[in-house]
Amino acid sequence: MQMLNIKFSTLLTCLICIMPLSTSLCLAETHFIEQFQVDPIIDKTLANRITEYYSEDIDLPLKQQRIELLALDNKLESLSNKHKNIAVFWFIKGLHHKNMASYYIEEKNTPLTNSHMKLNNEAFEKSIKMAPLSGNKLSASIFSTMKHSLPQDLKIEATKHEISLGGNGDNDSYYWYLHWSNIDQLEKAGRKEEAKQAYKNMQRELKNSGADMSIYQTLTSKIETETLNRLPQVKSQTSIKKPEPAKNKKEKVKEKVKEKVYETKYIVILAVILLSIVSIVAVTAYEVLQNRNKK
């Protein structure tokens, strides 16, 4: 057993030593910077490898992936204290937890997948909250990467940052679709006034951008009809009376019997009332006649 441990630790040490060398041979120094357009602050080889795990297919057996991911985890952990106030560090840490979660999916380990996704979201939240503080520059690409797994409010915040930085799509159209995404999310979160304001901002920016408005006409009208007017439409739909479900024969017979019982009851009551009226009238008439005879 001891022998096995020694072998394992030797292998781990070798891999840790070889890993930076091999990755630097495979990758240019700028992988992280190219994709996320900011300086990673930490060792670029480390940031590059985490980026590669996130954005490319890793051609390594799962066992080796595990060893490498745990080694990366140790390295990141040792840097946590030093960089705890740096937004880009928390982004990289979150990305690494995402990679770990992804690995555990392959291992079919649901508890560890979930716990790493939780850590991923916590790290991304820290990164987003730190972004407005001085010295914490994040790019549109980073916000775009972070938003997917986050809860609604944080996703909205990340999208807003992405828009304010000009978006990160391969084309102009994506930027306007990002605006639509922002309006859509605000609307779904019930933040209707903010959604309307976001739409106004989009229209203003679109007008000032010099874009061909005839192209974007269909887009803006879709936003108005399908996104901003979504709730009233839903209300009007729900206010329409639902058609009554078809009744079967038994129910129909029961209803007819009920109706007959009601009819008989009404007839009896009416007959009683009529009889009492007739009897009162008869008694009164008899008394009147008797009084006349006496006179």
């Binding site: 190219e34 790019s139 391969d170 159209s173 994506y174 679709y177 995404s181």
Partner: protein, 316 residues
């Protein structure tokens, strides 16, 4: 006329001479030719390509809040600055016994096709920044540059090029766009009529009726540089098209749309005979992202949740 970026005139024939920069342009006079000069009917010269510096460009918002995109480039908005239209005023003076006996004047001017070809020359041996290989995009022949064809009716969005030249290189992208659009529409209709499209958790999915929107077709090299890290990208050869689902970016509607689109393309693989990939943040989705469902965990594979467009190109 000469622009600062283009350096000095390079002479390819035996003509030589120093020029002078005047307010009206660069002035150069050849040496006196005599009947013994070979090829004197040819006045061949070209400006040296200006040094290309993509590193000077930045992404995101620039001064006055104007948006900047990918690697930079000019989007050909300021074509006079980065890809000026050259014209040459040629004066031929015929001398006899040192006396002028005749003068002929001509103006040689680049048209839009020349300007496009000049862009390819300027970007031919471009050094790629970051990872990947350097670019070597073929310089198109004059007859490969044509007027812009109509886009298929069912495709919304941008015209097949966003360049300001009002010309295009169409090397199969229009046919490809038509095939993709048809496959998507057919699959959408089929799934709607069958009403049996299920997510990974076996919940039935409502199929949203969203069109495809063309975002990019042919890109001139400057524009390509603005948008894409792929310096030798096939958009510049007129063989690629980018499409997005007409729904809010990364919404459930758009995720289902990409899933329907992807299935449609996989079903018609042999007919379409092209390459395609879903992209997010300028990178293709990984195999893992097509299987996993954690970003977010909503029953739809992550690749479709995170995609921001579909890139398709003809096979070269």
């Amino acid at each position: 006329m000469l622009d600062k970026q283009h350096g000095t005139i390079k002479l390819l024939s035996e003509f030589s001479g120093d020029g002078r920069m005047l307010n009206s342009g660069y002035h150069w006079q050849s040496k006196l030719l005599d009947t013994n000069t070979k090829n004197r009917h040819q006045l061949i010269f070209r400006p040296a390509p200006f040094s290309h510096q993509p590193a000077v460009y930045k992404k995101g918002k620039g001064p006055k809040g104007k948006r900047r995109k990918y690697g930079g480039g000019t989007r050909n908005i300021d074509e006079k600055k980065y890809n000026p239209k050259f014209s040459y005023d040629i004066t031929l003076t015929i001398l006899e016994n040192n006396k002028i006996v005749g003068t002929h004047k001509a103006n040689l001017s680049m048209d839009r096709i020349d300007m496009i070809r000049q862009e390819y020359i300027n970007h031919y041996d471009i050094k790629r920044y970051g990872r990947g290989e350097n670019g070597n995009i073929p310089i198109p022949k004059r007859n490969e540059i044509s007027s812009i064809p109509d886009k298929p009716e069912k495709l919304a969005g941008n015209p097949l090029t966003e360049s300001q030249y009002k010309l295009i290189i169409n090397d199969g992208m229009l046919d490809l766009a038509k095939k993709i659009s048809m496959a998507y529409t057919n699959n959408l209709n089929k799934l709607k009529s069958e009403d049996s499209f299920y997510d990974l958790k076996m919940n039935k999915l409502n199929i949203p009726d969203n069109k495809l929107w063309v975002t990019s077709g042919w890109r001139n090299p400057e524009r390509n540089e603005w948008y894409s890290n792929a310096v030798n990208g096939i958009h510049q050869r007129g063989g690629a098209v980018d499409l997005i689902i007409m729904a809010p970016a990364n919404s459930r509607q758009s995720s289902i749309g990409y899933w329907v689109l992807w299935n449609a393309l996989e079903e018609k693989k042999a007919d379409i005979n092209a390459y395609w990939q879903l992209e997010s943040n300028g990178r293709p989705m990984t195999t893992r992202e097509f299987k996993q469902d954690i970003e977010p965990a909503n029953g739809i594979p992550d690749a479709f949740d995170k995609a921001d467009h579909l890139h398709a190109n003809v096979k070269y």
